[in-house]
């Protein structure tokens, strides 16, 4: 039987069937799920259990024929433990959790991300490309240098085929233009006369800057941003470790994708996040 999504349950064990170094300190994995699952929606995440080590939220980069793709950047002992896993090893998966991106029709889709934030944007790019009506897709990616650009070849190939517009930049100019991805985004918005939706994922500070930029343009009709860069324990709305102020929305179930209207109400967006103790920490 094919399931719509996985039940909210204990981790189910999936076998790593493919592993590759994607870019600097980042590995991607394909994991075979032991059950048939229909699809994952872009923006949703899983809780990844590295047995005996740690469990943490990870964005879904792809799902085809019950094979799940994730990309893991080195961010601490838990991610390093995953980097040591090889083809044939088992890891636990809970999910799929969270509310996805909801792209409307008839707009410019502006996807902008950095680092680990590129994983949900990869799945979103794929979904938008598979739409029967051709979509106007722009992907903006920036990194410190060429070796840190995630999915570079994948995105560049689709750009070369004319399926997306890939706006790529690096801080040191080693690939694309030199500077930040917001430079091209701003330029696009200044010149565009048609409505756009911005989708962003990555470090919260970056997203706040994009949000503030997007608000200046009347042609940006919505912004959808993933706040998954927060501490989570349960993933399904019980522990409230990831709750935001003052609304009490939990990123894991009320998000992780929030639109402009909701982001305006989250007072800690880009300001502070809560540590595992519940203490506030400035972003």
């Amino acid at each position: 039987m094919t399931k719509q999504t996985l039940p909210n349950d204990k981790p189910i064990m999936g076998e790593i069937v493919e592993k590759w170094g994607e870019c600097f300190e980042t590995y991607c994995f394909k994991i075979k799920l032991p059950v048939k699952v229909q699809s994952a929606n872009p923006g949703q995440f899983i809780m990844l259990w590295v047995p005996g080590e740690d469990e943490y939220p990870v964005g879904i980069a792809g799902l085809k024929d019950s094979i799940l793709e994730v990309g893991i950047a080195k961010m601490g002992p838990g991610t390093e433990a995953m980097h040591k896993k090889e083809v044939g090893d088992l890891v636990g998966i809970r999910g799929f959790y969270g509310k996805p991106f909801t792209p409307p029709e008839g707009v410019n889709h502006l996807l902008i991300g950095g680092g680990f934030g590129m994983t949900p944007l990869k799945l979103l790019t794929e979904k938008l490309m598979s739409n029967e009506n051709k979509q106007n897709i722009h992907v903006f990616e920036g990194a410190r240098s060429k070796d840190r650009l995630m999915y570079l070849k994948w995105l560049q190939d689709f750009h070369d085929q004319g399926k997306i517009n890939f706006h790529v930049c690096t801080d040191d100019g080693s690939y694309g233009y030199q500077g930040f991805p917001t430079v091209d985004l701003e330029m696009f918005l200044q010149e565009s006369e048609t409505p756009s939706v911005i989708y962003a994922a990555g470090p919260e500070k970056m997203m706040k800057a994009i949000f503030d930029l997007g608000k200046k343009f009347a042609n940006v009709i919505d912004m959808q941003m993933s706040l998954a860069d927060r501490y989570m324990r349960c993933g399904f709305g019980a522990c409230s470790s990831c709750a935001v102020d003052p609304t009490g929305w939990r990123i894991c179930v009320d998000g992780p994708i929030f639109n402009t209207e909701k982001l305006e109400k989250i007072s800690d967006f880009g300001v502070y996040k809560r540590l595992e103790t519940g203490e506030k920490k400035r972003i």
Partner: protein, 306 residues
């Protein structure tokens, strides 16, 4: 017909209280849950210093038994920082019970001293937490320690003290009696049951702490039994709060009939749409009261003993 209920000398607008440990890490979720229609809310257990808690995985669902296993390990920022959150709750007039935790008597006293000037509804003493090396259930299984701690805290405040009991004892009446003799204002039964899950493929316990506590539908009959036993022994002498596995309005009524004056709900509110759950609970209680011609919650309490 009124849903209001009395627990000792305090009255809340309905008998449904958010249990400690779920949706209680920040003021924002607590406010949200009160605004959803609960009678009162209970914070996560607060200790003297900040605690990072146990390694993950520390909470996951057990779908087939509609339950959750957890070993969060009392992650909290410590009372000095959490005070800020409580003050916001007070400003919002959210009836708040603060759950406090100590590894020993001294820590309980320090936390109580640090918060007792705030107009909270009550303090709930967590002497029944499982997933910690010190304190918690190590205290809650020792009647002498329970008596001593409750008595000392009693001398320091007139704010109601509720004592949350562990089901992991052979004689709950002995522990409950010690708490009552110490001077507590209400008994809360039950905290989680000892539990564990092992992955058969990797042969590893799944929880980062290896062992955990079980909450959810699986433990409801256990909770009902303990509340029934406590009411059988104490009658109306001490108010009881029933907690454990409430998923439906019927479960609330069952706890009231067993002897509870109010209930605490955790696991079934830790879901995507807790507001809907609160609405369902209220609707069901009202329907039952109308059908059975009850005018107040107090009339239902202990009904199974008559």
């Amino acid at each position: 017909m009124s849903l209001a209920t009395k627990i000792g000398n305090i009255t809340i607008r309905n008998p449904i209280i958010l249990a400690s440990g779920v949706l209680g890490t920040t003021y924002s979720t607590l406010n949200r849950m009160y605004e959803a229609g609960l009678g009162a809310v209970i914070t996560k257990s607060i200790s003297s210093k900040s605690r990072a808690g146990n390694p993950n995985p520390s909470v996951f669902a057990l779908n087939d038994i509609r339950s959750v296993i957890s070993s969060v390990g009392l992650a909290n920022p410590g009372y000095q920082i959490f005070r800020e959150d409580i003050e916001i709750l007070m400003k919002n007039s959210t009836p708040t019970i603060v759950s406090i935790f100590g590894e020993n008597k001294e820590e309980f006293i320090e936390v109580l001293d640090g918060l007792k000037d705030l107009p909270v509804l009550a303090f709930e003493l967590n002497i029944s937490y499982l997933n910690t090396e010190k304190g918690g259930t190590q205290i809650g299984t020792d009647p002498d320690l329970v008596y001593e701690i409750v008595k000392e805290l009693r001398e320091k405040t007139r704010i109601p003290l509720w004592v949350k009991l562990t089901p992991n004892v052979s004689d709950i009446i002995e522990i409950a009696s010690a708490a009552v003799q110490g001077g507590c204002d209400a008994l809360v039964a039950i905290n989680t049951l000892k539990a564990m899950v092992i992955d058969i493929h990797t042969k590893q316990p799944i929880l980062g702490y290896k062992k955990g506590g079980l909450s959810g539908a699986a433990i409801k009959p256990v909770g009902i039994r303990y509340v029934y036993d406590l009411y059988e022994h104490f009658g109306n002498k001490i108010p009881l709060l029933g907690v454990g596995g409430i998923f439906r309005g019927e479960d609330i009524i069952e706890y009231l009939l067993a002897g509870a004056s109010a209930v605490e709900i955790g696991t079934s509110l830790g879901v995507a749409y807790p507001e809907n759950m609160v609405r369902f609970f209220q609707m069901k209680i009202k329907k039952y009261m109308k059908e059975q011609q009850f005018d107040s919650i107090g009339e239902i309490t202990g009904g199974a003993h008559r």
